[in-house]
Amino acid sequence: MEHNNIADVLRQGIVVFIFLAVLTALEFFVAVAIGAVPLLIVMAVVKVGLVLYYYMHIYRLNEDSGDDHHSLIYKTATNRLGLWLFLLSDSFVFGGLLVARFYLLSLTRPPLNQTLGLIVTSVLLLSSFFMNRAEASMEHGDRKGFVIGIVATLVLGLGFVAGVLGVEWPSAIAEGVTPSVNAAGAIFFMMTGMHALHVVTGLIFLSIVLRNGSRGVYSAEKHWGVEAAAVYWHFVDVVWIFFYPALYLIGRLI
């Protein structure tokens, strides 16, 4: 496993989160004040890179897992490959939605509440931060830290779903952005709806992992379920890192 001690890992998580938070704030500022689309794209890509490397540990795909096909480490590495292949497949759904959004609306955007968008984005980002802490704790055998981290992730995840479905959708409809009014409304509800569906499945995985984890199913050596739920959860965050600017920041109002 990781050689660094837990304090270092947790500190690294905090530093990465600060970078992500600053970039998110900058993004908002750039969009509102300058509106430079290429800059927004670059910032989103940098954020995704940070999450892929530091939170999702994409480099683990490259780790040596030995030759014994029956060892736990080999099987876990195979599972990891399978999960990443699934994420690759899933990203084509979200990529397709992004293509549809720019094909139909090009550089215009529906009248949505940008502050509300920033708030739900922050909530999701914060949940990723706690998810990372939960996984790191389990890796070092700290079950209490794991439970705290997962519960925080769950609460924030629920907050995100409630924010999007319970606050954002009604307020968009009040602004006249309904699913059937025009293509922009349709795209907005399809993108947020598809993303929310993934958040909800992620919440189900997290609850399963929380229940098993608090009953002692996982250990520092054997916790593939935790790692899988974490990687999936961060992936949902990665998707939102692209969806948020595409829906709320890029383009002029229609």
Partner: protein, 614 residues
């Protein structure tokens, strides 16, 4: 009989039906409470049918028990590493984790679908023998024509999955796939998908052709929704199967099997799986968007709301063009696999062939808009897509060159399997040569939506998939069952099907060039095509007769075929070095690869060796 009723298949189907009904009643009840319309032309309203269909699929999983082990894991319990399968035929209608059983399940399902889809073709082909409408209405003609297309496509996808599922773990010396439970799930999700798709027959059908373009598909009867849901559900079979095959080849290879010592079929499986894993999501998404447009009035493809139907075509063809490479790449892999065995010579240009499969798959991602030259898309896209399409001919040419060079001066044996390989090469060549006229914008504008296209793609799919699929069955049937198929019946099958098929497609191309439109139920007798149509209909029935002979051969050989002993075809491949039928655990002793796979006829060369003392 009791075994049948308690099987996963029958339980799943019963649960699916009940789930469907419950879901539909639930929506109907809610609509009643909301004061909306509760009943429609086809009894339930469209939202009720769709939601019910969705619940039905979930119920199928519950009823068949395919999710059982995953529930154990979610509860934090250990699931057994292996499940014991029953000994007899029951294992094929129950959930099995053995890749060989799943491969046969896929193959049998594929044969069933190809027969169903073929029967649809016979019905409307009979109608087309004479101008005017004889016994079909326009709506029925359109539905059968559309269903023929999509049922055949799903049948082929399922058949491809069958061949690859059965063979890839054997060829790489693995005990099973990387994810056996996911493998079982990938098969079983296709079953409720097919039920949904065929249910469109009872719900007004659909008249769009298999492509389901809006705006027509946004207006067609409820059957359209069943088409979308059925394809979407079965599509998951492709996605997850592709994922599993990539993970299997990357992680489960025997010792010493480096990338350039893998059999060509395994290379083809990787290339195919890269496409199914990723591009399938785009057709799924495009179908979902139309479904939501119909259900909630979301205006993705509705110009009145700022939508654009061309967007659908882009997303649809982003999958559906690479999909034809999904159909043919494994077939071309089978051809490359069998030729050296029956020519007793090394495969010419192994590395080039291996790379050409990947090349076709990757270039295949960049050609989709050649289906849309006449659609009104941006004109500046036409020329780049024309050239990228013509580029596909290069890796395909590499394959042909290698086959011819391998056959050159070889001692060719021609059992039925090899006949189908040679037939496949000839037919695929015709399909390939009739491709560039469609890829070139100037000629395509004349040929779009004519029978020329129909002839072209039937040649590519028969040459690239159907002929090699039959070759694979004749070749590996003894491995799966321990008995050989009858050679005489096999040769009758080949010599009946091939000339009939060539007549059919060459005439299709001829009348297409002269102006026969595709997808129409009626044509003007003054065009002078009637005689051609009569001949084509007769050819269609001859093909059906040959398939009937093939099916009889399969069922006869399973019971009374000659026992298959030892290395029947004198192959170097590891699966032929062990007894037939294949033992449950595949290889008792692990394999080690020590040489090149296709060095036939080289003295003292060795490919695999068993590590005896573990």
């Amino acid at each position: 009989m009791k075994k049948l009723y308690s099987s996963a298949l029958v339980r799943g189907l019963i649960w699916q039906f009940i789930g469907w009904l419950v879901g539909a009643l639930f929506v109907t009840l809610i609509r009643l409470l909301m004061g909306l319309k509760t009943l429609d032309t086809f009894f339930f309203t469209e939202p009720a049918w769709v939601f019910g269909g969705f619940v039905g699929v979930l119920s199928f999983f519950a009823g068949s028990g395919v999710l059982h082990d995953w529930f154990l894991w979610a509860k934090g319990e250990e699931a057994p590493e292996h499940h014991e399968d029953p000994a007899g035929w029951e294992k094929y209608i129950n959930v099995s984790l053995d890749h060989k059983v799943i491969g046969i399940q896929y193959t049998l399902t594929s044969l069933f679908l190809l027969v169903v889809g073929g029967s649809f073709a016979l019905i409307f082909r009979t109608e087309l023998a004479q101008p005017g409408l004889q016994f079909l209405t326009l709506q029925w003609y359109n539905t059968l024509m559309s269903l023929h297309g999509i049922v055949m496509i799903i049948g082929i996808l399922v058949g491809v999955a069958g061949v690859m599922n059965y063979l890839v773990p054997l060829l790489i010396g693995a005990q099973d796939m990387a994810f056996p439970r996911l493998n079982a799930f990938s098969y079983w999700i296709a079953v409720p998908g097919v039920v949904l798709l065929l249910s469109s027959l009872a719900l007004g059908g659909f008249d769009t052709g298999w492509t389901g373009y809006p705006p027509l598909s946004a207006r067609a009867p409820v059957g359209m929704q069943m088409f979308f849901m059925g394809v979407f559900t079965s599509g998951w079979s492709s996605v997850l199967g592709g994922l599993n095959l990539i993970a299997t080849t990357l992680r489960m290879r025997a010792k010493g099997m480096t990338a350039f010592r893998m059999p060509i079929l395994v290379w083809a499986a990787i290339a195919t799986s890269l496409i199914t894993l990723t591009a399938t999501q785009l057709i799924g998404l495009s179908f979902q968007l139309v479904m939501f447009q119909r259900l909630l009035g979301m205006g993705f493809f509705d110009p009145a709301k700022g939508g654009d139907p061309i967007l659908f075509q882009h997303m649809f063809w982003f999958y559906s063009h690479p999909a034809v490479y999904v159909f043919v790449l494994p077939g071309l892999g089978v051809i490359s696999e069998l030729i050296p065995v029956f020519v007793r010579k090394p495969l010419y240009g192994y590395r080039w062939i291996a790379m050409s499969s990947l090349g076709i798959a990757l270039v295949g991602f960049l050609v989709w808009a050649h289906h849309m030259f006449a659609s009104g898309m941006n004109q500046y896209l036409q020329v780049p897509f024309m050239y990228s399409t013509l580029l596909v001919a290069v890796p395909t040419g590499v394959k042909f060159f290698s086959w011819v060079a391998t056959l050159w001066k070889g001692k060719i044996e021609t059992p039925t399997a090899m006949l189908f390989v040679i037939g496949g090469i000839v037919v695929f060549l015709l399909g390939g040569l009739s491709g560039p006229p469609n890829a070139t914008v100037a000629t395509d504008l004349h040929l779009t939506d004519t029978y020329f296209i129909v002839g072209h793609f039937h040649d590519t799919i028969f040459g690239g998939y159907v002929f090699p699929f039959f070759a694979a069955i004749y070749y590996w049937f003894p491995k799966a069952t321990g008995r050989r198929m009858n050679e005489t019946l096999g040769k009758i099958h080949f010599w009946l099907m091939t000339p009939a098929f060539l007549t059919l497609t060459l005439l299709m191309m001829r009348i297409g060039m002269l102006g026969m439109r595709r997808r129409i139920a009626d044509y003007d007798p003054a065009l002078g095509f009637t005689a051609y149509h009569v001949v084509m209909t007769i050819s269609g029935f001859l093909i059906a007769l040959s398939i009937l002979i093939f099916l009889i051969n399969i069922f006869r050989s399973m019971k009374q075929g000659e026992k298959a002993e030892g290395n029947l075809w004198n192959s170097r491949s590891p699966e032929w070095q062990v007894p037939s039928p294949m033992p449950v655990q595949n290889y008792v002793h692990p394999l080690e690869v020590v040489g090149e796979p296709y060095d036939y006829g080289l003295l003292g060369s060795e490919y695999t060796r068993f590590i005896e003392d573990k």
